[in-house]
Every structure is written in C-alpha cells, then in structure tokens.
C-alpha cells in the first residue's frame, strides 16, 4: 500500500488500537480492533477483485470483438466488395440487355406504323377504281401484314426478353441484403470496441456534414433515410431555385 493511500491513516489508527489493547491486556478491545482491521482488508480485497474481474471480462470481450473484426476485415469485407462489384456488373448487364431490346424493337414499331400509314394514305387519296388496282393494293397490304406478323413475333420475343432481364433484381437484392447484414455486424463490433475503450455505451454516431470539397466532387444520389441537409425536393424545386437566381433552367 502506498504511503499516501487514503486508507493509510485508518490502518494506522487500527494498528494503534491493537497495540493499545495488547499493551493494556484488554482481550475484548484487541478482538474488536482486530475484527475492524479484517473487515477493512475484506472491503479492499473485494474492490480489487471486482476490478480484476471487470478487466478480465473486458479483455475477453475485446479479444472476441478483435477476433471477429479480424475475420471481417480479412475475409467478409473483401468478399462484400466482390459481391457489390458483382451487383454493379449484373445491373449494368441488365440495363444494356434492356437497351438492346428497346433499340431492336423501335425500328420494327416504326416500320409497322409507317407501312400502315402508307397503305391507308394510298387508299384514302387514290382509292383503287378497278379490280387490277384493287388487287395491287391488296398484294401490298398482304405483304405488309405478313411482314408485320413476323415483326410482332420478334416484338413479343423482345418483350419476353425485357421481362427476363428484370431477373437481376432477385440476385442483387439478396446480395445487397447480405452486405447490409455485414455492415450491421461491423457497426455493432466497432461500437462494442469503442464502448470497451471508453467505458461508455455507444448509442449513436454523429454524421459529419459534407464539406464544399465533398460536394464539388459530387455526393451521389439522395437516399431515403440518409438526409443530406438542404437538398431540393425535385425538378420543380430546382427550376424555382434557378428562376429566383435569374438563371436558366
């Protein structure tokens, strides 16, 4: 025990009481003083034991958190990066597949529209007056219908392709959910480590506000639940803001 320990004076008094009782041959007083001394030692021991136990618990918790954090950093986070890259690739492929099908369908629709318009125009402006002329128009009409039937088969197949291209959402949804689970676990473990280090419970994280340097490079799309202060509500809001500034829209 250090000489300046707050209990030193108390112990000194207890030892003096013991000495006094011994010198005076007072067995009862000696016993009382001895009991007080033992009680004092017991309290000290208990406090020390509590402290050691808490430290051991904290060390165990830290070890467990550190070990899981190591696993997360070494395996799960790199895996998550690969999974998210896969999501980007899948969405990219699906978008391109969709655009391919739309671009392939556009000319077919245009052709059907143009062919029908031409036939109707011929009929309206110059109605066939005899069997030969009618027959010629009918031949063109039949050719148009045959072409249109083939084209609509292609359109139907393209629509089916568009439908199938949306299948990426199932896979990407599952991958993103698993990464959300990983982020949740990381947050819990990091919170636990901060709690062990500080001895305080972590109840929330204060988000740093974006600086002009951040937003000049771009903050990315607005996401529900992650409020970027001072964001516009939509195109109308932007138009109004630019109008107020007297600029273009």
């Amino acid at each position: 025990m250090a000489p300046n320990h707050p209990d030193t004076e108390q112990f000194r008094a207890q030892v003096a009481a013991l000495q006094c009782a011994l010198d005076g041959g007072d067995a009862a007083a000696f016993r009382r003083a001895f009991d007080q001394l033992c009680e004092q030692m017991h309290v000290e021991l208990l406090a020390e034991l509590k402290h050691v136990t808490a430290s051991a618990q904290s060390a165990l918790a830290r070890f467990s958190a550190d070990a899981r954090l190591d696993a997360l950093a070494g395996q799960d986070v790199p895996d998550a990066r690969k999974r998210l890259t896969h999501v980007v690739n899948l969405t990219d492929e699906a978008a391109h597949r969709t655009l391919d099908l739309v671009e392939n369908s556009g000319p077919l629709v245009d052709e059907a529209s143009r062919g029908a318009a031409q036939l109707l125009e011929t009929w309206a402006s110059n109605p066939p007056r005899d069997a030969l002329a009618t027959s010629s128009w009918v031949v063109r009409a039949v050719a148009f219908l045959e072409r249109t039937r083939t084209d609509t088969d292609v359109l139907r197949a393209n629509m089916s392709g568009l439908l199938m291209a949306q299948g990426y959402q199932d896979i990407t949804g599952q991958i993103i959910r698993s990464v959300i689970g990983l982020v949740d676990e990381l947050e819990r473990i990091l919170g636990k480590l901060v709690e062990i280090a500080d001895g305080n419970e972590v109840t929330g994280v204060v988000r740093a506000l974006p600086t002009p340097a951040d937003w000049e490079q771009g903050l990315g799309p607005q996401v529900e639940g992650i409020a970027v202060s001072d964001a516009v509500a939509g195109q109308d809001d932007i138009d109004a803001l630019l109008s107020q500034m007297g600029g273009g829209q």
């Binding site: 990219d92 978008a95 391109h96 655009l99 739309v102 671009e103 974006p210 002009p212 937003w215 000049e216 490079q217 771009g218 903050l219 990315g220 799309p221 607005q222 970027v228 202060s229 001072d230 964001a231 516009v232 939509g234 195109q235 932007i238 803001l241 630019l242 500034m245 600029g247 273009g248 829209q249």
Partner: protein, 129 residues
C-alpha cells in the same frame, strides 16, 4: 441548328449515356459523341465542333462541375450550352453550378419530357440572344 447539332454526352455509366443518346435520337438529334468523364470530354470539346454539352456531375477523374468551369474558362467553348444531368440535389451545388454558368439543370431520375423541355428552353434562349 436543330438536328444537325453535335452533342457530347458525358457520364461515367455507359447505360446512362445510351439512354440519353436514345432520347436525343428520338428528338431528332443524331450526331452524338460520348465521353466517360471530364478528363476525356475536355480534349474532345477542344478538338471538335460540338454545339451542346450534356454532363453528369459525380464522375471519377474530372467531375462535371470542374468540366463546366473549364468550358466556361475556355475562350472558344465559353458560350457552349451546358446541361447538367445529375443526381446531385444539394441546394448549394445547384447554386454553385448556376454561378459557374450552367445553362440548365436536370435532376436524375428524369423523364424524356423534362430533358426535351430543358434542351428546347436552352436552345430558344440561345436563339433569342
């Protein structure tokens, strides 16, 4: 001008470039070049005779805002119409873009009608100037 105009569409996502390209073609503009960020767009702008620039904001390399500033700082390009087509929605950003001389600002996700309206409006104001 009109459908003989040369457009440069700058976006880091090729799908978005394709979407914008398709919409422009539907509007009758067929001369469209693509670039994936400001760094690749700027040399194209300086060497080509583009009439209209449509750019995203958030791109790796040179961001759209820096591209806009570079365009306005270049004597030959300074008057080019620049439409920002972006998901960036912070008021300070829109004000900054306006102060840097953006001609129009369309927020993503956008509609074909909005894009057409903004392009028409920019071209009308250029024609009136």
């Amino acid at each position: 001008m009109s459908n003989t105009m040369k457009f440069l569409v700058v976006d880091d996502f090729s799908t978005m470039r394709r979407i914008v390209k398709n919409l422009l073609q539907e509007l009758g503009y067929n001369d469209i070049t693509e670039a994936d960020d400001g760094n690749s767009a700027l040399p194209l702008l300086k060497s080509g005779s583009f009439d209209f620039l449509i750019t995203d904001w958030n791109m790796p390399g040179m961001a759209g805002l820096d591209l806009l500033k570079a365009v306005r700082a270049d004597e030959k390009l300074a008057k080019m119409p620049v439409l920002m087509l972006t998901a960036e929605a912070k008021r300070e950003q829109i004000i900054e873009a306006a102060q840097a001389g953006v001609s129009g600002y369309v927020i993503k996700p956008f509609t074909a009608v909005t894009l057409k309206e903004k392009i028409d409006k920019i071209l009308a104001s250029r024609a009136a100037a």
